[in-house]
């Protein structure tokens, strides 16, 4: 589950926050924002959770058959 959280303060400050978007999704979202709103006043990556891949290698041993 991921969330994009958009908030507007009573002073009119607009903040767009990513909670769990992939880096690719976030980069696309911020590129879209820059195209529409220009450069943000502040920005930060507060945490980055890396996905760890497990590689399973299987070895097949072929033996000569014969009955």
């Amino acid at each position: 589950m991921a969330e994009l959280i958009i908030s507007v303060s009573p002073e009119g400050e607009l903040v767009v926050r990513s909670e769990g978007l992939t880096r690719g999704q976030w980069e696309q979202a911020t590129a879209d924002l820059r195209a529409v709103l220009g450069e943000p006043t502040r920005q930060a990556v507060e945490a980055e959770q890396h996905l760890h891949h497990i590689h399973v290698e299987s070895h097949l041993q072929v033996r000569g058959g014969g009955s």
Partner: protein, 146 residues
């Protein structure tokens, strides 16, 4: 192995003062704020800033692309103009202590309009569910979950 674009982020971008670049969002913010006496340039002629802006004495002091007439504004305020400069509607207000408060309300309305637009785009893109809440202090939060 690096995760590249698959890493998941907690991150934010913040826009302290949005520039009024979108006329439809600005018009919506103004009407939501209760302004009804709006005069705008004909479509396609906005850059000419030809709509007269009057001061509290009724003298034409400038031209703008969009004008909120003084009848909608505090007594003695005159008109509130928005001059189209380099793609942005720049407010033209009298040097009046009430101007900042008035603009703050319009900025907040514009931000809310823009936030709703961005959230709807995100909802469609990610086929998510949208939830809007308003806090006691007036902060509007829209969550798009997917």
């Amino acid at each position: 192995m690096p995760c590249g674009t698959r890493a998941r982020l907690t991150a934010y971008v913040a826009y302290q003062n949005l520039t009024f670049t979108e006329l439809d969002v600005l018009l919506s913010a103004l009407t939501d704020a209760g302004y009804t006496q709006l005069e705008r340039a004909l479509v396609g002629t906005e850059a000419a800033n030809s709509v007269p802006v009057r001061d509290k004495a009724g003298r034409v002091i400038a031209g703008a692309a969009l004008v909120v007439r003084g009848a909608d504004l505090p007594t003695g305020f005159g008109d509130l103009g928005f001059v189209l400069v380099d793609g942005a509607y720049v407010p033209l207000v009298p040097s009046d202590a009430r101007a900042e408060q008035l603009l703050k309300g319009i900025r907040t309305g514009y931000g809310r309009g823009k936030a709703a637009q961005l959230a709807e785009q995100a909802r469609r893109r990610y086929q998510g569910a949208m939830q809007r809440t308003t806090a006691v202090d007036g902060t509007v939060t829209i969550r798009v979950r997917f």
